[in-house]
């Protein structure tokens, strides 16, 4: 019985999607930006969706659908799009006016879409950073993690210019300076105070619970997280100078 309900919901969703896509396209034609009204809609949809999570009632989707028919301004179903594989043919990435990435997309049905800005995310940032890249719509309410537009299998599927553009944005988004020299590590009041040289300049950072925040990967690399959310990487720990290695060794 529950299964049946779910199936039904999915059916509703897919019909929703096409409807939304159409709406979106017409909106895009008129103006490449979301109007302030549009962003407000999104906000409401978001609050409604968190509402859903709160009470996990399968049926709520239905009432949202019904409400949307009545008054799209109040509670609309959040649209979800089908993620498609992206390649040279259907996706053209350019540098945006704001020095970020814009996308001209050709949908499988032949329609085209323009995104003023897309967000690029790595599926395997640590183990396979240059493959399986997710291209997403920016979404203010979800800290930049909007709907997935599509996925890039390999970065090398695109020309050099585009790859450069990707890498530039990825380097910004994935900021994990390489630790080159550990000047000192002091253990005080349960926190470790580090002073180190990194590929991005000298830093001091604070870490608690070193045994869970220093992670040794299977390939020998070390990833370190500090209390502020900084991430540091030691690509080849054995190549650190012996003084530095001694300082970190006791936590491995």
């Amino acid at each position: 019985m529950a299964d049946k309900d779910n199936n039904k919901n999915e059916k509703n969703l897919s019909s929703e999607e096409t409807k939304d896509k159409e709406k979106k396209l017409s909106a895009e034609e008129a103006d490449n930006e979301k109007t302030s009204d549009g962003s407000k809609k999104e906000e409401k949809a978001e609050s409604k969706s968190s509402d859903d999570k709160a009470d996990k009632k399968a049926g709520i989707d239905d009432d949202k659908e019904l409400l949307q028919e009545d008054d799209a301004g109040d509670l609309i179903l959040e649209h979800r799009r089908e993620s498609i594989p992206l390649n040279r043919e259907n996706a053209k990435f350019t540098r945006s006016k704001g020095n970020l990435i814009s996308l001209d997309l050709t949908n499988p049905d032949g329609t085209t879409e323009f995104f003023e800005r897309v967000v690029i995310m790595r599926a395997f940032p640590i183990s396979n950073p240059d493959e399986f890249l997710s291209i997403r719509e920016p979404d203010a309410k979800r800290k930049g993690r909007g709907n997935e537009i599509g996925m890039i299998r390999r970065m090398t599927d695109f020309d050099d210019e585009t790859q450069k553009l990707f890498l530039e944005e990825l380097d910004r988004r994935y900021f994990s300076p390489k630790l080159m020299k550990i000047i000192s590590v002091k253990d005080k009041f349960g926190y470790l105070y580090w002073d180190a040289e990194t590929s991005s300049g000298n830093v001091t950072f604070i870490m608690n619970n070193p045994f869970s925040n220093i992670r040794v990967l299977d390939d020998g690399r070390i990833i370190m997280h500090d209390i502020d959310g900084n991430v540091f990487e030691i690509p080849e720990p054995e190549k650190l100078d012996s003084q530095s290695y001694k300082k970190i060794e006791i936590y491995l």
Binding site: M1, K4, D5, K8, N32, E33, S36, S39, S47, K48, S50, D51, A54, D55, K57, G59, D62, D63, K64, L66, L67, D70, D71, D74, L75, S96, K97, G98, N99, L100, E116, R117, V119, P125, P138, A140, K143, G144, D171, R172, R173, Y174, F175, S176, P177, F189, Y191, Y193, S200, G201, N202, V203, I206, N208, F211, I227, D228, G229, N230, I250
Partner: protein, 755 residues
């Protein structure tokens, strides 16, 4: 939270050169990452423009007015602050997540507000009361979940407060110090007497042994000193046990009382684990320090500092022999302890990992079995166990080598003394007894050195614990009774007058809400999450104080009513029912501990709980809660309702009391509630509108405002939000019926086909 940092001089100059005369600096925040390098730059926000400043250079300006979509994005290892300027999304600056993300989140809101108030002549910056997580003085992190900086706290203040708390047990607590003084004296006297015994009676250098009676007197003296010392030790043990326990008891009680008196918001700011830690372990650390460690350190330190002049007086050359190696010994001991601690920590980590793994696997045993991964999990566990057992073995080996060596090191002074002493004795310049005496003193000097490396750590642990405890003790509750609070008995009329409230000042959850509820009415509160339903109820219960407006109960402002009187006349049934460990009976009469059996049964009957309780093997005496009988959601809920009934409250609050139950149970509970709400003012929040069918009036909240208020039929006639909700739920139940019918007919066709 600090939103206005001071600009360094060079940045300030660059800013002043660029800023317009009609602009006012509103906020100034640091940014820490620029072009993939760590930097220390500043973002200055005026009422019109943002300026990005780094090392005296202006890196860029962007308008605030006219820009849109301000937002922060959390990335990997950093965060970004974005805005849409001239239709182009732009990365304004990048910064470290932990420290500045909350600040920029406020700035996002602030920029939106600036855009709204662009015509305002003198805009005022918004403020934010979220506490900082970092010490503003030294920029180091506060102790978890506190606002205490271990580096900057006033240590003298803590000792003073602690001393004030020892009132009444000071005499008992000073006893260990008295014993310490005696023990130090005896430590010096005994070797002296022994030395005398050797020189005069056992092995006199003159060859003439003293009279036997003198020797016996010395033996008696040594024995009686020993006896006296042991007796003192027994007394000290007893006294410190009594004083220590009294101290902890008092500390725990005071702390717990204070915790109960704190408002909900201060409790919810902290985790349960943190608060439990403060009541249990931090008070124990304080007790241990005051009653055990402090006297020990006292003895060690006094011994050390007395033996120094005594030795110098006796023989300054030997004194030098003893003291010269001390720095070396201290250095090596502290290194050894560091080494030992690290190894122990490693072992601890490995064994906790094994523990986690076991916990994980046992919890997910159904998954493991379901996928047939038993072999894999056995391997994984074996691997982890082997690692920790190897570490344990190697630790044991290393420690068994190190500690004897350390013992050797600590006796190093004795070796020097013996060497020098024997040389002197051979030359006839020293007596044997004198050597014995000095050697004993040398050992006394070295013994405290073992402790010295521990002292700073233990003191800092103690100070941390003490400051955590005092932080709670000194906190002012947000919601406080007035000087002479009223103890009124409530009729049940609630008048909410124009209230505005937000957990953050700039982000009101409720705005200008006014509702008048007559005594005995049942009001259903409807609206989607985040519309302020629960907040309204929290305010009526006065778990928080309103920012503006007033809530009147029977024409008395609830701020004037004592909190105890107010809440004792309110009953609450929440969605998540909490049953305390204890019997069913205890749980029902929680708010009225002396309720009779009749009352308990009557309440249980009214809650439709009596029948299922009777069917439990131990009836009303069945244990529930963590260790006892586990009840279903519906059963718990009915006990909670009984708990509310027995209390006979004038105002009843039902916060989604039936949301998580199936329809049949809901029916039972509905019936119970119908009985319960009679003659009481009732406020009920519900997602399922059927729950509210008995409500006299319905209050529809939308984004913190009253959207609709009236009876069921009035609101239906309005065709507004309520109408839509009703229609939606009706359609939903029809859909459910339809699918059920379809399923049924499918089955029938299938059956027919089979035939």
């Amino acid at each position: 939270m600090k939103l206005m940092y001071d600009l360094p001089a060079d940045d300030k100059a660059a800013f002043d050169a660029a800023v317009g005369s009609d602009e006012k600096l509103m906020y100034c925040l640091p940014f820490t990452i620029y072009e993939n390098k760590f930097v220390k730059g500043y973002m200055a926000f005026t009422n019109k423009t943002m300026y990005k400043l780094l090392e005296g250079k202006l890196l860029g300006t962007w308008p605030i007015i006219g820009s849109s979509d301000f937002k922060t994005e959390v990335m990997y290892g950093c965060c970004g602050f974005y805005a849409k300027v001239d239709g182009a999304t732009t990365l304004i600056c990048q910064f470290v997540s932990g420290r500045d993300l909350p600040r920029y989140a406020v700035i996002v809101k602030a920029c939106e507000i600036l855009n709204e108030q662009k015509d305002e002549k003198s805009p005022t910056p918004i403020t934010n009361s979220t506490p900082e997580r970092f010490c503003p003085v030294c920029n180091r992190p506060y102790i978890n979940a506190t606002t205490i900086c271990p580096y900057c706290m006033d240590k003298k203040e803590i000792y003073k407060k602690l001393f004030a708390m020892t009132k009444g047990i000071r005499l008992m607590m000073s006893f260990p110090f008295l014993v310490a003084v005696f023990s130090v004296i005896f430590q010096f006297v005994v070797p002296y007497i022994e030395g005398q015994a050797i020189d005069k009676y056992i092995n006199p250098s003159s060859g003439i042994h003293g009279p036997m009676s003198g020797f016996i007197a010395i033996v008696i003296a040594i024995v009686s000193i020993d006896l006296f010392q042991r007796a003192l030790g027994v007394l000290q043990g007893r006294f410190s046990a009594i004083a220590g326990n009294k101290f902890t008891l008092m500390l725990k009680t005071v702390l717990y009382e204070k915790l109960q008196s704190l408002s909900l918001s201060s409790i919810q700011r902290r985790t349960t684990g943190d608060l439990m830690g403060r009541v249990n372990s931090d008070t124990s650390v304080m007790q241990g320090f005051v009653t055990n460690q402090l006297p020990t350190y006292f003895i060690q330190i006094v011994t050390f500092f007395i033996s120094l002049p005594v030795l110098a007086f006796m023989n300054w050359k030997m004194c030098l022999f003893i003291f010269v190696p001390i720095p070396l010994v201290v250095l090596i001991t502290s290194k050894v302890w560091d080494f030992v601690r690290n190894r122990n920590r490693k072992l601890w980590v490995l064994s906790t990992r094994t523990g986690y793994l076991l916990h994980d696997i046992l919890n997910g045993i159904r998954v493991v079995k379901g996928f047939g991964m038993e072999e894999y999990e056995i391997e994984r566990f074996k691997e982890s166990s082997i690692k920790s057992s190897n570490q344990s073995e190697s630790n044991a080996k290393v420690f068994d080598t190190i500690f004897p060596l350390l013992g050797l090191l600590i006796r190093i002074g004795s070796y020097f003394i013996l060497l020098y002493g024997y040389m002197m004795i051979f030359r006839g310049k020293m007596e044997l007894g004198f050597l014995h005496q000095i050697n004993s003193y040398a050992n006394m000097v070295y013994a405290p050195l073992m402790y010295i490396t521990f002292i700073p750590r233990n003191i800092s642990n103690f100070l941390t614990s003490a400051s955590k405890v005092f932080e709670i003790l000194e906190e002012e509750p947000d919601v406080q009774d007035i000087g002479l609070p009223l103890d009124i008995s409530i009729e049940g009329e609630i008048d909410v007058k124009n209230i505005t409230f937000g957990y953050e000042s700039y982000n009101p959850v409720l705005e200008n809400v006014s509702v008048r509820i007559e005594p005995g009415e049942m009001i259903g509160i409807v609206g989607h999450s985040g519309s302020g339903k629960s907040t309204l109820i929290n305010l009526i219960m006065r778990l928080y104080d309103v920012n503006e407006g007033a809530i009147m109960i029977d024409d008395v402002n609830i701020k004037d009513i004592s909190q105890t009187a107010l809440r004792s006349q309110m009953g609450v049934v929440l969605q998540e029912t909490f049953l305390f460990s204890g019997t069913v009976q205890d749980n029902i009469r929680y708010s009225k501990p002396f309720a009779t059996e009749e009352e308990v049964i009557r309440a249980a009957r009214a809650a439709n709980a009596h029948d299922f309780i009777i069917n439990l093997p131990e009836g009303y005496n069945t244990l529930v809660g963590e260790k006892g009988y586990s009840m279903s959601g519906g059963e718990r809920q009915r006990i909670a309702i009984a708990r509310a009934i027995i209390h006979d409250p004038k105002i009843l609050i039902l916060d989604e009391a039936t949301a998580s139950l199936d329809t049949e149970t809901e029916k039972l509970i509905q019936d119970a509630l119908t009985k319960l709400v009679k003659n009481r003012t009732t406020l009920a929040i519900a997602h399922r509108l059927s729950t509210l069918r008995n409500a006299d009036k319905l209050l529809v909240l939308d984004h913190g405002r009253v959207a609709e208020f009236g009876t069921h039929s009035e609101l239906l006639a309005l065709k507004g939000i309520y109408w839509k909700l009703v229609m939606a739920q009706r359609k939903m139940s029809q859909d459910v019926e339809r699918t059920q019918a379809e399923k049924h007919s499918e089955k029938q066709t299938a059956a027919a086909a089979a035939k």
